[in-house]
């Protein structure tokens, strides 16, 4: 299968995302430039982390209007898979692909450290290779990661199982101290109603190698791969 990694001016985690695909799961990956109108027939689009447009105005606010985003939105509307990581999550929310918004961390500081997140749903093409309630160790590195949405949206996300990952302690408990940025309900990652667009603040592409501390990001990519293969057969 083929992955498109979108590059905006200021994207930093594009190379890490490419390597996650080519080395992590041995699939084809190409870069798509923000000015292009062509996703090169990719099956999955990754919006990588970084500081697109310097996070000017609001993180992701300007990137969402790039020419390539029209193609990404069309791809998502057709049911194509989109994975938004960190700045990618911010862009997806600004573009309306996902509900809510990401605000400045409650501590007002950039936070870079490994955190624990709990898998809340395995009923998606992104998480089917995890176990329900599995605790993962994945790095975060962001200054604007506080997930916010109005009460109705939060209820809907919870009620319909669209919360995919939640910040927890090493023992899997949802506590304030386990929440690195003040996100509502410790939400670290969500999926849209159709189940094809995932947004998450932690970096699974940085958790694919034991030498770097964790391989807990790998099942996310293998889930995407296996779901795609299963879909291709049917």
């Amino acid at each position: 299968m083929k992955f498109a990694i979108v590059r905006f001016p200021g994207s930093n985690c594009d190379e890490d995302a490419l390597l996650a695909v080519t080395e992590g799961i041995g699939q084809e990956a190409v870069y798509c430039w923000h000015k292009d109108h062509d996703l090169q027939d990719a099956d999955v689009v990754i919006l990588p982390g970084g500081f697109s447009y310097g996070d000017y105005l609001r993180a992701g606010a300007i990137a969402r209007f790039s020419p390539i985003m029209q193609e990404v939105i069309a791809h998502a509307n057709r049911g194509g898979a989109v994975l938004g990581i960190c700045n990618g999550f911010q862009i997806a929310c600004e573009a309306g692909l996902l509900p809510g918004a990401l605000l400045r961390n409650a501590s007002l500081r950039f936070v870079s450290e490994p955190v624990n997140i709990r898998v809340e749903s395995i009923a998606t093409q992104f998480t089917c290779n995890y176990h329900i309630g599995q605790t993962l160790q994945v790095p975060i590195a962001h200054g604007d990661g506080r997930f916010t949405a109005d009460a109705d949206t939060l209820e809907r996300l919870e009620g319909e199982g669209h919360v995919l990952f939640r910040y927890v302690t090493a023992n899997g408990h949802v506590t304030d101290r386990a929440n690195p940025n003040g996100s509502a309900r410790n939400i670290a990652g969500i999926v849209n109603a159709a189940g094809n667009v995932l947004g998450m603040m932690p970096h699974p592409e940085r958790a694919l190698d034991a030498k770097l501390g964790s391989t807990d990001g790998l099942p996310l990519f293998t889930s995407i791969l296996e779901s795609f293969m299963a879909g291709a057969k049917s």
């Binding site: 600004e94 605000l103 400045r104 961390n105 409650a106 501590s107 949405a149 109005d150 003040g182």
Partner: protein
């Protein structure tokens, strides 16, 4: 066409936690302003543009805010002034 200068305020919605506002409020308290109840920290933009009329300029500004300048989930906007420049 006339040249206008539009001044806009973008502020965090009421109900959204504004940690920056809280930090500023705490700092003001420790500086000796115990009466300070609440602080909101937002953005102030000035836009120099041409339009047919002040009303048209105001309307453009509204659309700019709705589309780009303010995030409807978390921010409110206010057009502070529209002046011929």
């Amino acid at each position: 066409m006339t040249r206008f200068r539009i001044a806009l305020h973008i502020v965090p919605r009421r109900g959204i936690l504004d940690p920056q506002g809280k930090a500023v409020s705490d700092a003001l308290h420790s500086l000796g302003f115990p009466g300070v109840q609440d602080v909101r920290v937002g953005r102030f933009l000035t836009i120099d543009t041409t339009a047919e009329s002040a009303e048209a300029a105001r309307q453009s500004a509204r659309v700019m805010c709705e589309k780009l300048l303010a995030n409807p989930v978390t921010e409110d906007f206010e057009i502070a002034s529209v002046e011929v420049s």
